[in-house]
Amino acid sequence: MGNKVVAMLLAGGQGSRLKALTSKIAKPAVPFGGKYRIIDFALSNATNSGISNIGILTQYKPYLLNTHIGIGSAWDYDRNIGGLRILPPFTSEEGGRWYTGTANAVYENIDYLDELEPQYVLILSGDHIYKMDYNQLLNYHKGKKADVTIAVMEVPWEEASRFGIINVDEKDKIIEFEEKPPKPKNNMASMGIYMFNWKELRKYLRKDNKDKDSVHDFGKNVLPKMLEEEKKMYAWNFKGYWKDVGTVRSYWESNMDLLDDKNTLNLYDKSWRIYTKNKNLPPQYIARGAIVNNSLINEGCHIMGELNNSILFSEIIVEPGAIINNSVVLSNCTIKSGAVVNNAVILEDTVIEEDKRIGEIGDNKIYLVSGKKIWEE
């Protein structure tokens, strides 16, 4: 990225609808796809796109996220020139404040951006699972001579009312925002990925901060304000896999997507690797008598039982006679012999006792299982 781009990655979200998955960690730190955490996708996209400066805005329960990111070595961000900065809320002469919204979080770090003097600021979310070359977005943005370009993608009509919908003219210039409209005019949803000219953004962040009625959110305040004042705003149409994992069910579904041979999020693509912190575990062992069908297994697992359509994270023991169907099992779990697990998300460090039954194959429910409790959805 020749022209200077600084990425600001919003990673402070709680993700309350993920229930126990986020009881101790922020949503970007939630494990995904056998060995990753959700934030790995945005971070890997950034490093693969050649972005050399990235600020990570943290707030909600950041301990594990901080441990995971460290100095950014896994994503090649431990650099002398550029690199990664973790930007938590801080205190100043006027007292301490929490980040009150996405725009406010960036506003509070104007000093960081001023120091880097970027031409463009790319706003990213640490909550999304996708692979994107941000250079394409930048080139489009430059080509249109836009003040801001928003990445959008087509979503199914029946889901369109869950998203921020963007209406454009025939040249893809944005003419209207609709936040979660009951009757959407089209099905192009904002992906929460914005490429701003820094000068414009800086102006509007300062303006927004003075506005007492604002909740300091990009989607609700800053972008509509820019539209109102007739700034050049364009929509860039992204095609590919993208998921905002909102609920336990969609979390389970997007994990299961990886087992579908038609899935477009190809994790094996060497030209666009997804990086993560290395756990230094030995290979997985598949014992004699084990049955493994259409499943993903990660390092350090010891499989003696039966797996069908499941995703296993690391260091999981599946005892002989245990059966796991259509489930996501997070690290360090033990499934004891005779246990049968269907359609479940099993949280870290859980032991499923002998002969325990969870769910039925066709019951259309998702079970979130911890050592203490089972939630149904």
Partner: protein, 374 residues
């Protein structure tokens, strides 16, 4: 343990490995699905608190440089101490000499400069999860100048012929060092690990060179055994001695035993290696895997039995792999059969190809080799 330097050196010949050591030293052989042999030696040192480690690399240095780099996976990329790599210099004032003494002597500055007072020597071709801390305490408490580590071995089949045989007297006193000819059912195997006081080590190097009576540190121990206080320490765990193709193959397959893999992979801390950022391994509907160790990044559609499969390997539908070691990024196409084989990195076994060796002499496919049906 920060009082002890770690020295890694091997005198193993690479010619006994049937083509898999053409471009790499034997201590760099892939092992256990995602490691190199030397990872076990370095990780065990690091896990026991050694902070300064020197590797005498031998001449085939490219794969060593690529793998060890600045030592980051082992936390050895330190401002103070850390990892030192010493390729051989054959063109100095001791140029007519061969053997490890000359190599050690050529790095005298390293021994002078480092603050550690003791040396822990280790041979990366021998894997043993020695509790270095316990052994070090023995070495210090007994006031020895040199402590040699051995393992009592039962070797009725003569698998360990030509290994170092150590003669141990009462109270662990060192008597002599020779070569095992398998004349006895049991023997004490010197596993290439030793503690030496640094000043004694330096003195032995200088004496050997000045007097010109030995080129090997092992010979010097025999030569000077009455001059210094030398004792022995018994190691009781599992030992793998990798000195030829057969022992390499067997050591890999031994990891399918739960007890051995537990000990080698987990005891005393994790084994670190260069990470490759591979995703999880996918087992499709048509796969059938039995008693095998599978690394990450593989896509398995065929049958695998009693085998070690390294990172990023693809095994096609109807393919059958048995008793084999399949290294990184190899591709085995549909309906190929691979039995009792060692497939080096990035080999390609085409559709319907059958290859097989015997358990005693595995079939070797060399790096980048492609085998296709005419």
């Amino acid at each position: 343990m920060d009082r002890c330097l770690g020295i890694i050196t091997t005198l193993e010949r690479d010619s006994n490995f049937g083509g898999i050591c053409k471009n790499r030293p034997s201590y760099m052989l892939p092992f256990g699905g995602r490691y190199r042999l030397i990872d076990f030696t370095i990780s065990n040192m690091v896990n026991h608190g050694l902070r300064t480690i020197a590797v005498y690399t031998g001449e085939k240095i490219r794969s060593t440089m690529d793998h060890l780099g600045d030592g980051k996976p082992w936390d050895l990329n330190r401002r103070i101490n850390g990892l030192f790599l010493y390729p051989p210099i054959n063109d100095n004032h001791v140029g007519t000499h061969f053997g490890d003494i000359a190599q050690f002597y050529s790095t005298m500055e390293f021994f002078d400069r480092t603050r550690e007072e003791y040396i822990f020597l280790s041979n990366p071709n021998i894997i043993a999860k020695l509790n270095i801390g316990d052994a070090f305490r023995f070495f210090i408490d007994t006031g020895a100048d040199i402590t040699l580590i051995y393992r009592e071995q039962l070797d009725p089949d003569g698998n360990l012929i030509n290994c170092d045989k150590i003669h141990v007297g009462e109270d662990n006193v060192f008597e002599n060092l020779g070569v095992n000819l398998s004349t006895e059912k049991r023997f004490n195997h010197y596993i290439g690990m030793a503690f030496v006081k640094k000043d004694i080590f330096i003195k032995i190097l200088k004496d050997s060179i000045e007097q010109g009576n030995t080129n090997y540190f092992k010979d010097a121990i025999i030569l000077y055994k009455d001059k210094y206080k030398i004792n022995t320490y018994e190691f009781k765990g599992h030992v793998e001695t990798i000195r030829d193709l057969k022992s390499f193959y067997k050591a890999n397959l031994n990891l399918l035993s739960k007890d051995i893999s537990r000990e080698l992979f987990f005891q005393g801390g994790a084994i670190y290696t260069k990470s490759k950022d591979e995703p999880s391994t996918l087992y499709t509907e048509s796969s059938n895997v039995q008693n095998s160790l599978i690394a990450n990044g593989c896509v398995i559609e065929g049958d695998v039995e009693n085998s070690i499969v390294f990172r990023g390997v693809k095994i096609g539908k109807g393919a059958f792999i048995k008793n084999s070691v399949v290294m990184q990024k190899s591709v085995i196409e549909e309906n190929a059969i691979v039995v009792n084989a060692v497939l080096d990195k990035q080999t390609f076994i085409g559709k319907g190809v059958n290859i097989g060796g015997s358990i005693l002499a595995p079939y070797v496919v060399e790096k980048y080799q492609r085998i296709v049906k005419e």
